[in-house]
């Protein structure tokens, strides 16, 4: 059906980070005039694929072709020269510079070595007209709302007159009006023969705008077909649907323990007005697309960012907590998602990391009791099967073992509420299995576990209950019998009753 040569094509590209394969033999072809959708769950490999297509990363294997000719090594500069423009989710704007200067940043027309403000003004105005930016061009970008900045970012990409335009969730912070303008724009650009790759979690948008779809799952292409042949439910099935296998422990019967979290009208960061009750012995999953407020919710509970609530009893104490130590005193422990930056003191030894939260509890004659500390470290290492010398720097451990250290260091404080932020991200299957069984045994011991996860099967097969976040609020609360991948992904994407896609 598409006879023209693809403007850019990736053939059987693979990419691994630290031995974890993220893309496995993926192929994608962007053809002139076609709006191509790229779908997949969090962690399916979409961002990595975009980075390969824009030259930010190099594939380990496979090749990238531009205009049918293989490119030896695509760099960001050569990608730009080939007419590839990417609108990333993280904006690339400078707040103090004007709209026009931002649009022209790095590609401004020059005269005698200076920026030609006349030409810049003319061309920026033309593109702003196209994108619907009506603000004066001399306004500093810092004074715009997030949605308007997103539009400036799109204008910036168009300023470079791309042949290939990659839009990574361009509508995540846009109003309905702006989305309509963008949709019209995408159609116009496609009609001019520009190849467009459109990544979005809003299925209705994808269906109305795109003609072709590539679905990624676990780094493999599960569909590369015309969108006309598949409906929304079909797309969701293509994105999920996996064999849970043997990795998950069996669930016990909910014991109905003490109520450890009881909050109403809880707000923190981008989270607003969340209510939740949870009891000891439960594993409560927190799902949703990346960045919908799950992390702010947890940090707010943990006293790490400012929070407010109409009513909050956390760990049997009135909250929200003003600082982390108060949360620790109430029996809360937090294991961050980014264990290298937030969870561990990487250059320090395994032993020091394991002892950090419980410093000051093992004392003799007013000093640290080295013998008792050594005993504790040995016991923790044994319980979590962390092998080898605990005086090694923790950065020498594999991802999975690092995660175990980040979790184990809390056990001496006997926490009653474990806040876990995506604990199995980048962890191999064997360690995942260990962690799942450990979490279940914690729950059986009478702890409450809150688990943020970007891995939907984990929510489905491990958790007793799943709360789905969307745009800073609870989009759905699924009791055990209602948990399914389709229900979670659907709620996360705003399908169903609570569809508020603006």
């Amino acid at each position: 059906m598409d006879q023209a040569t693809p403007l850019i094509e990736a053939r059987a590209v693979s990419k691994a980070f630290f031995g974890n394969p993220v893309l496995k033999g993926v192929g994608i072809a962007l053809r002139p005039g076609r709006v191509h959708a790229l779908l997949g769950e969090n962690g399916a490999g979409k961002s990595t694929l975009i980075n390969l297509l824009s030259g930010a990363l190099q594939p380990d294997d496979g090749e990238i072709l531009i205009d049918g000719k293989p490119v030896a090594r695509l760099t960001p500069a050569s990608a730009r020269a080939a007419g590839i423009a990417v609108v990333q989710q993280e904006l690339s704007l400078a707040a103090e510079l004007s709209i026009a200067e931002n649009i022209g940043l790095g590609a401004a027309p020059r005269r005698f070595g200076m920026i030609d403000y006349g030409a810049l003004s003319r061309r920026a105005a033309e593109i702003c007209g196209l994108v619907g930016i009506t603000e004066p061009l001399d306004l500093p970008v810092g004074e715009l709302s997030l949605g308007r900045r997103q539009m400036v970012e799109i204008a910036k990409a168009l300023f470079r007159q791309p042949r290939i335009l990659i839009l990574d969730e361009p509508t995540s912070s846009l109003s309905a009006h702006e989305v309509a303008i963008l949709s019209g724009l995408v159609r116009t650009l496609a009609a001019r023969g520009i190849a467009i790759l459109y990544i979005s979690h809003r299925l209705n948008e994808v269906q109305s705008l795109c003609s072709h779809v590539t679905v990624l799952k676990d780094g493999v292409v599960t569909a590369d077909q015309s969108l006309a042949e598949v409906d929304a439910e079909g797309l969701v099935r293509l994105m999920v649907g996996r064999d849970p296998g043997e990795v998950f422990p069996p669930r016990g019967t909910p014991s109905g323990g003490e109520e450890l979290i009881d909050i109403e009208g809880f707000s923190a960061g981008m989270v607003h007005d969340v209510s939740l009750r949870a009891r000891a012995g439960e594993i409560v999953g927190i799902g949703g697309l990346v960045g919908q407020g799950q992390e702010d919710f947890m940090l707010g509970l943990y006293g790490a960012i400012d929070a407010s609530a109409r009513r909050a009893m956390i760990g049997g104490r009135p909250g929200p907590f003003a600082h982390v130590r108060a949360a620790n005193a109430a029996g809360l422990a937090y294991v961050p998602a980014d264990r290298k930056k937030e969870g561990l003191v990487l250059p320090h030894s395994i032993a020091s990391n394991l002892l950090l939260p419980s410093l000051g509890t093992l004392m003799k004659h007013g000093m640290r009791d080295r013998a008792a500390e050594a005993g504790l470290v040995a016991r923790l290492a044994e319980r979590l099967t962390i092998k080898g010398d605990t005086s090694r720097a923790v950065q020498a451990l594999s991802g999975g073992n690092q995660q175990k250290v980040a979790l184990a260091k809390w056990l001496p404080l006997v926490p009653r509420v474990l806040l876990l932020n995506d604990p199995t991200r980048g962890v191999d299957v064997g360690t995942k299995r260990e962690i799942y069984h450990m979490l279940r045994s914690f729950a059986d011991e009478g702890k409450l576990i809150l688990l943020i996860s970007s891995d939907t099967p984990e929510l489905v097969h491990l958790c007793d209950r799943v709360v789905v976040f969307r745009e800073g609020a609870v989009a759905a609360e699924l009791p055990r019998e209602a948990i399914s991948e389709e229900a979670i992904v659907g709620a996360a994407m705003g399908l169903g009753a609570k569809d508020r896609a603006a």
């Binding site: 993280e90 904006l91 400078a94 790095g106 400012d306």
Partner: protein
């Protein structure tokens, strides 16, 4: 609406808008100047204005040197030593066969060169500018002391008369420097300074040569500091290897007073220049009221901490 305006007007529209954000600062500086002129009417004579602008001139240059780096997400603790080194190099070369022109060239090369080396270390080794320049300040001070262990050297009298005499030549040069800065800011590299300071990753993705921008800003900053040293040497007629020391903190004080943020990309050069003017007026007033010169130190310490801390307090106040 700006789309309807003619070509080139975009540039001036941007400038107008930047000025609008600084109206408060302009008013404060203006009020200080009016009070100062009222207290010391001598300011309004040519001689008085010349003296005033000569006191302000080196402060303005070092504040620009510091603000340039702060806008770019860096900071320098080597500004003062560079001023000293500039003074020493000027005093040593101008008495030799190279003459005044040769001396000027030497100062320019020293300033640009040391700045560029510092910038390259910061940019390519990805080390914090604050510690690199702390180490650099020892090295530069040492070089100045080796070249000229005690005050000495010589700056021709006519140059001293020209720069620090009874004519406002220094003010004229300052205007030229500011025009030069405006021209630089209108180049792609100049806009890159703001972009790199505020959003280095985004700037890199947009095709801004981040490392080159960093090195160029350090080099220009070094140039400005060394030129300030040349002027100080002309003022005193000789070189002094430690004369620049107070300028490190003064430059930070001026920039912070002018609303330039520590974290990069926030503020504007014109604000920093106003900040240096404000600081200069304060120092003059303290001098005339009869405060001993050391009181300046006390004031600087308070001003810097205050200028950083008060906005922080205000932020918390609003939140609470």
């Amino acid at each position: 609406m700006s789309m309807a305006e003619g070509m080139g007007s975009l540039y001036f529209a941007i400038q107008r808008r930047r000025n609008r954000g600084l109206v408060g600062l302009y008013l404060v500086v203006g009020a200080f100047l009016v009070v100062y002129a009222f207290m010391f009417p001598g300011l309004l004579t040519i001689g008085g204005f010349s003296k005033f602008s000569q006191n302000w001139f080196p402060l303005a240059l070092v504040t620009m040197a510091q603000a340039l780096l702060m806008l770019n997400g860096g900071i320098s603790l080597a500004i003062g030593p560079l001023v000293s080194l500039g003074a020493v190099v000027a005093a040593l070369t101008m008495e030799g066969p190279a003459g005044v022109l040769g001396g000027l060239v030497a100062v320019v090369i020293v300033g640009l060169g040391i700045g560029a080396i510092t910038g390259a270390i910061v940019a390519y080794m990805r080390l914090p500018a604050i510690i690199v320049t702390l180490a650099g300040s020892f090295i530069i001070t040492g070089i100045a002391l080796i070249l000229l262990p005690r005050p000495g050297g010589f700056v021709p009298d006519w140059l001293s008369q020209l720069l620090a005499g009874h004519t406002p030549v220094a003010f004229g040069i300052l205007i030229l420097v500011v025009i030069g800065w405006k021209l630089f800011l209108a180049t792609p590299l100049g806009t890159g300074i703001y972009a790199v300071g505020d959003n280095p990753v985004g700037a890199f993705r947009s095709g801004v040569p981040v490392e080159r921008v960093r090195i160029v800003s350090f080099a220009l900053s070094g140039l400005l500091a060394a030129l300030a040293g040349l002027f100080v040497a002309a003022q005193t007629g000789s070189g002094d290897p430690v004369i620049g020391n107070p300028f490190t903190l003064n430059s930070i004080a001026g920039a912070v007073l002018g609303g330039v943020g520590f974290l990069g990309g926030k503020g504007a050069m014109r604000g920093a220049i106003c900040g240096s003017l404000l600081l200069s007026v304060m120092i003059n007033v303290m001098f005339f009221i009869g405060f001993p010169p050391v009181a300046q130190y006390v004031a600087q310490g308070v001003i810097i901490v205050g200028a950083v801390a008060i906005p922080e307090f205000a932020r918390r106040w609003r939140k609470a």
